[in-house]
Symmetry: C2
Subunit: 328 residues, 2 copies
């Protein structure tokens, strides 16, 4: 196979991925895509990079990787309440591997179709395996959710459950070091490999939540970002954290709350809600089809006060994933 | 210095880069940027990745690299006639290096300010040095230039000059292999390190050119893409190619026309123009402040007929840069 035909194949894999959209005037394949944003809306834009052996194992399932590369970006759109529309993909691969590329494209496509998203641009280069996705969505003008805006007295709410991705990653690492160690159970592995971008929830929260963020680095780091942007602090009750069951079991045995608040990769939404909207939480949860749990409230005093179930205070030893500090 | 303060510094380097723009409702730093595209326009989007030791030397000047990472993307906007507005930057670096980051940011900022562009989003990760930039611009609805649209009889025009970046790269490689070899002269090195995105020209060509592309992989490959998209072929007179003087000297000595048509990294525009607009070329060149040269014309028959100055036909042995084939 000539080099030119390899490029032709790559183009074939990544042309026409995702949903067909009437607002795409010129699709992937030219120097630029040409797009028609809707009137009365702001364009929400987010870009994220996943690096092999930092954010994922280089030998992981490309189908899952294609899904996750898109999911983590859609999660950012969810956090601002946007309706997703277009994505671009910059993919750097060490060599041409038709099976790998086809499966990666399929995983990416599956989620894109599910959310009506079109792949409108890309660049494929040779080099160390790296994936950058940029997502574009819309919010009605002025209604985008932000990290700033939380007020003292607001409730702090998280969607879904925490810590499952972190525990799955820990088990995968153990298994790689010692092949006789157990593999993560499928449900737990799904928490790592197939995070659900909380798009419906984000859109419901427009005009309701006072601030929002998605949990990519871990609750401690990310709620910290939200509080810093809002010039507030918080009290959080660890006993209230929604935990995946295997996570709860580990914490019950070890009291290692970091597993829930500092492992990262949860991709749940964390938002603050004025107290008077507490009664609407059940409705949001039903409409968005995901659990919502109040875990604490916003306070005027900066910093986070973590309360343990026994009433004692607690501080995480690490606040979240740090690419320059931790090895994956 | 703690890891957290390293991240704070990185954020500081990349916050507020480029021009201030009234259409940025929420700037870099939240989960998404929120942007207000102008009415009556299409959004033009392009994404490009530069990989260390594939697209540039890992130890190159970060100031020049920051400039170039943005320039090559703005060149894509130029090719579709767009007015640039917003860019995002996904930067993967092997370690925290304050000087490197500061200089990279400065080079990026200089060009962004020059073209009124704002850095509205980013992601900094640890890993092999890789830079992905996505640029966003506007074109009045329906006026974006495309690769398709060239018609038999149209003139083929290129801006600026060709081959200088390729010759500079060749000299740099020789110098790295043999330190006693001469360095590229500054003017030639500039052709490689500081390509000028032809934005003013691209905007002038809206509604005038029948098709356009920017020359990133080399004239042979890129005009090939344009002709394929337009379902045409072409005749090109090698004697008419605008060459950087040192390139002309090499070709005069070796007849190695590949240096001009297959080295890549020119970042000039190549466009096709209906014959009846020939008289406007001088005006475009004056208004865009760059040379424009007619190098051939579009023909019905697929493929490119290259004519040598002696009248004989010629075919390039390689058609352009191929990341999966050539080593940088």
């Amino acid at each position: 196979m000539t080099m030119q035909s390899e490029f032709d194949l790559i183009r074939a894999y990544f042309t026409g991925l995702g949903a067909t959209r009437a607002d795409v005037a010129l699709d992937i394949g030219d120097d630029c895509a040409l797009l028609r944003p809707p009137a009365g809306h702001e364009l929400a834009v987010s870009i994220d990079t996943l690096v092999a052996d930092v954010h994922f194992f280089a030998d992981c399932d490309p189908l899952a990787l294609g899904y996750k590369a898109l999911a983590v970006n859609l999660s950012d759109l969810a956090a601002c309440g946007a309706t997703p529309a277009w994505v671009t993909l910059a993919l750097t691969v060490p060599q041409f591997d038709a099976d790998w590329l086809r499966n990666f494209a399929r995983g990416f496509n599956d989620l894109a179709v599910e959310h009506g998203v079109r792949l409108i641009g890309g660049d494929t280069t040779r080099g160390p395996l790296t994936i950058t996705v940029q997502a574009h969505g819309f919010v009605p003008i002025g209604q985008g959710l932000r990290r700033s805006g939380a007020k003292p007295g607001d409730l702090i709410v998280v969607s879904g459950s925490l810590g499952g991705a972190g525990l799955a990653l820990r088990q995968l690492k153990l298994k790689r070091a010692d092949p006789s160690a157990p593999s993560p159970l499928p449900a737990l592995l799904n928490r790592l490999e197939r995070p659900i971008p909380r798009l419906a929830l984000g859109q419901l929260l427009r005009g309701q939540a006072s601030a929002a963020i998605d949990l990519s680095d871990g609750l401690a780091a990310d709620v910290g970002h939200l509080l810093t942007a809002s010039h507030c602090g918080a009290m959080i009750e660890l006993a209230q954290l929604p935990l995946d069951q295997p996570v709860a079991a580990v914490i019950a045995a070890t009291n290692e709350w970091e597993l829930a608040v500092a492992s990262g990769d949860d991709y749940e939404l964390c938002f603050t809600l004025p107290l008077e909207r507490l009664n609407q939480l059940t409705q949001y949860a039903n409409m968005a089809a995901c659990p919502l749990t109040v875990i604490g409230y916003v306070e005027r005093q900066p910093g986070i006060r973590w309360h343990q179930p026994n009433g004692q205070s607690w501080q995480p030893e690490r606040s979240g994933y740090d690419h320059f500090g931790n090895e994956a």
